[in-house]
């Protein structure tokens, strides 16, 4: 099922949660809505589910106007961060709920319900829990049951609101992989909300980055990570070093001193220099055209070494953290030069 979101705006009193958002989700796609809290990502998901209503704009499921349908009529599967399993029902009854809720003439027979619930519990690998109650299960198990319950009604779309947000790191990683595999098996159009960039990059076919009610960038995980179109996305996705610079006639300056890098066609004025911590070379001593600073701290275990470098500026200092796979040829307290090898410059926007 293709989902079309056109010009959707949603306000909560004075707060604008979504501002004229447009988004197309293709059939069978697994899309992540990624953004910090307050970016509007959950509101967008709830609008698709019919749990919230936009102030203006339209939502299309295929050729059908979804806003004409209530939540109960949309045939979407919704998975909540805190599972929302019915605590007084067994796991079996939870999964069967949607089937039993159908109008009498569409309701499957009791054996058919038993078969379907059994199949779904097999799919989520929790057949043995059928007669248990939700509070007898772990968080990860509960979330898988919640997913089975959502899938039982054969939804046209699967919507997941921070599905792994309440789980601990290890279970989270397992479930992520498991969701990815599940999606490959059943190919249902799925949208999930997350504030965890690692989760979005690992699981989704396509990532939609939101900030303050706007879609900032959409693309494959590779695209948003490697070719961010704004300093926000650069900083939000992956580790990032950001420096405020000015561009004058193709020359880039940090705190008044020129840096030996290309302006990448950025017009004159303020700009943000963004680089990955591992794309910055570090040299002992002060080098012309480099960023001069003092090493404050060296740390890191395993393959990566990290260095905290304080760049001197007129108004004080600017701390940056860089990392390198090699042993650093410097010590704490030493003066060093940083030279970005690979970086991006983003002009400051009016906002």
């Amino acid at each position: 099922m293709k989902i079309g979101i056109q010009n959707v705006t949603k306000r909560f009193d004075a707060f604008v949660a979504l501002d004229r958002v447009n988004l197309d989700i293709h059939s069978g796609e697994l899309v992540a809505l990624l953004g910090p809290s307050g970016s509007g990502k959950t509101t967008l998901l709830r609008i698709m589910a019919g749990l919230d209503w936009p102030d203006s704009g339209s939502v299309w499921f295929g050729g059908e106007n979804a806003l004409a349908l209530g939540a109960a009529e949309r045939h979407v599967g919704f998975v909540f961060q805190h599972y929302a399993l019915f605590r007084h029902m067994t796991v079996f009854e939870n999964v069967a709920f949607g089937l039993r809720a159908r109008p009498r003439h569409q309701r499957p027979s009791e054996p058919a319900i038993r078969k379907r619930v059994g199949d779904l519990l097999d799919l989520v690998q929790l057949s043995w829990t059928a007669q248990r109650y939700p509070d007898q299960l772990s968080g990860g198990q509960r979330q898988r049951i919640a997913l089975a319950r959502a899938l039982a009604v054969e939804p046209r779309v699967l919507l997941l609101d921070e599905p792994f947000g309440a789980l601990d790191a290890k279970v989270r990683k397992e479930l992520r992989r498991w969701l990815r595999t599940l999606h490959e098996d059943i190919q249902i159009t799925s949208v999930f909300v997350t504030h965890d960039q690692e989760e979005a990059l690992e699981v989704a076919d396509r990532v939609v980055v939101l900030d303050k009610g706007h879609i900032i960038q959409t693309g494959t995980p590779q695209q948003v990570h490697d070719r961010p179109t704004s300093s926000f996305v650069h900083e939000f996705i992956g580790d990032s070093v950001a420096l405020p610079v000015t561009v004058t006639g193709g020359e880039v300056r940090f705190d008044g001193s020129p840096i030996a890098i290309d302006a990448q066609g950025v017009p004159d004025g303020g700009a943000t220099l963004c680089a990955r911590p591992y794309d910055i070379a570090i040299h002992a001593g002060s080098i012309a055209g480099g960023l001069t600073g003092e090493v404050r701290r060296l740390y890191g275990l395993g393959a990566l070494r990290r260095a905290e470098v304080a760049l001197r500026t007129a108004s004080g200092e600017h701390l940056v953290e860089i990392s390198t796979p090699r042993a650093l040829p410097v010590g704490v307290g030493q003066i060093v030069s940083l030279a970005p090898q690979s970086y991006r410059l983003f002009p400051l926007t009016a906002a």
Binding site: A49, L51, G70, H75, F78, F80, A84, F86, H88, A101
Partner: protein, 303 residues
């Protein structure tokens, strides 16, 4: 007996000191700084038990003792007197109506307060508590002022030959009014804690509003609802003040059990008064047991 109370108590202290000294020393040596000393624990527990005995156990036992003072036959005769039976019947009717109405409206109120956002919500929450904060006499007077002969609707009611005050409808109204907060107050905190996610889940699974309410919301709050019913019933059967104002005290017609007890007592029929009172006391005991059971169930559902 002519012992000196001061010396007596001094002796007691000495006795306590000698007999508990080893225990106290041992206790102190094992002290971890958190526990109160043993003597304090025992004293406080003793004081509490003493007051419970004086103020609750003895009066309660006395109710039953007085009721049966002239034998079982007299007891049965007292509570099967037509006026007593009429009072029991009216009390049961008022309580049942109050329970049913308050379950319906209390649940709706709690639902509206916890599941929807609207202006004036905090005002509604305080209004729910109003019947608890006004004197029952005023609760009764309100209905006299509304429906009495001198009240706003009095003339119209008289013209249409409808009796509310000094009749059964007035008693039921007053009872419903004073018991309104129980159900809503039990449900509001629980429903607020549970949030609306279960309902949203049911809705997105295709369930209708009614199905969601009966299959999801109601089971989630059923023990708290029963608790509210229990308290509503106890208060409805025991209510005196508000009902007394609107009743008119017509024997065999507008007397509830508490009013009937008062009349019997005023007529020096102590045994009969205590006999009817024993029924209310028995209800209180049953309520108490049910309350403990329900509290345990509720604690389990909100875990």
């Amino acid at each position: 007996m002519s012992f000196n109370p001061v010396i007596q108590s001094q002796e007691t202290v000495d006795l306590l000191a000698t007999s508990f000294a080893p225990a106290l020393v041992m206790h102190r040596s094992r002290r971890d700084g958190r526990a109160d000393p043993l003597w304090l624990q025992w004293t406080l527990t003793g004081v509490a038990l003493f007051f419970l005995t004086i103020f609750i156990v003895i009066p309660l036992v006395n109710v039953f003792a007085q009721a049966l003072a002239k034998g079982v036959a007299a007891y049965v005769a007292a509570i099967s007197h037509p006026d007593a039976l009429a009072a029991i019947w009216l009390t049961v009717v008022a309580a049942v109506v109050a329970v049913v109405l308050n379950v319906v409206f209390g649940t709706i109120t709690a639902w509206a307060i916890t599941k929807y956002e609207f202006r004036g919500k905090s005002l509604l929450i305080s209004l729910v508590d109003l019947p608890f904060s006004v004197s029952p006499v005023i609760s009764g007077l309100v209905f006299i002022l509304l429906f009495g002969a001198q009240g706003y609707f009095g003339p119209w009611l008289q013209d249409n030959d409808i009796k509310i005050v000094f009749a059964v409808p007035g008693i039921i109204l007053a009872t419903v009014f004073v018991t309104f907060p129980f159900v809503a107050r039990e449900l509001i905190p629980l429903m607020r804690e549970q949030g609306i996610q279960d309902e949203e889940a049911a809705l997105s699974l295709g369930a209708s509003g009614l199905r969601t309410f009966f299959r999801v919301t109601l089971p989630n709050v059923k023990w708290a609802l029963l608790y509210g019913v229990l308290l509503t019933n106890a208060r409805a059967m025991g209510e005196f003040g508000a009902v007394s104002v609107v009743s008119g005290h017509i024997r065999g017609e507008t007397n509830t059990m508490p009013l009937h007890i008062e009349i019997l007592y005023n007529e020096y029929q102590f045994m009969a008064a205590f006999a009817v009172a024993s029924l209310l006391a028995f209800l209180a005991l049953v309520t108490l047991v049910a309350k403990v059971v329900l509290e345990k169930r509720i604690a389990r559902t909100t875990r």
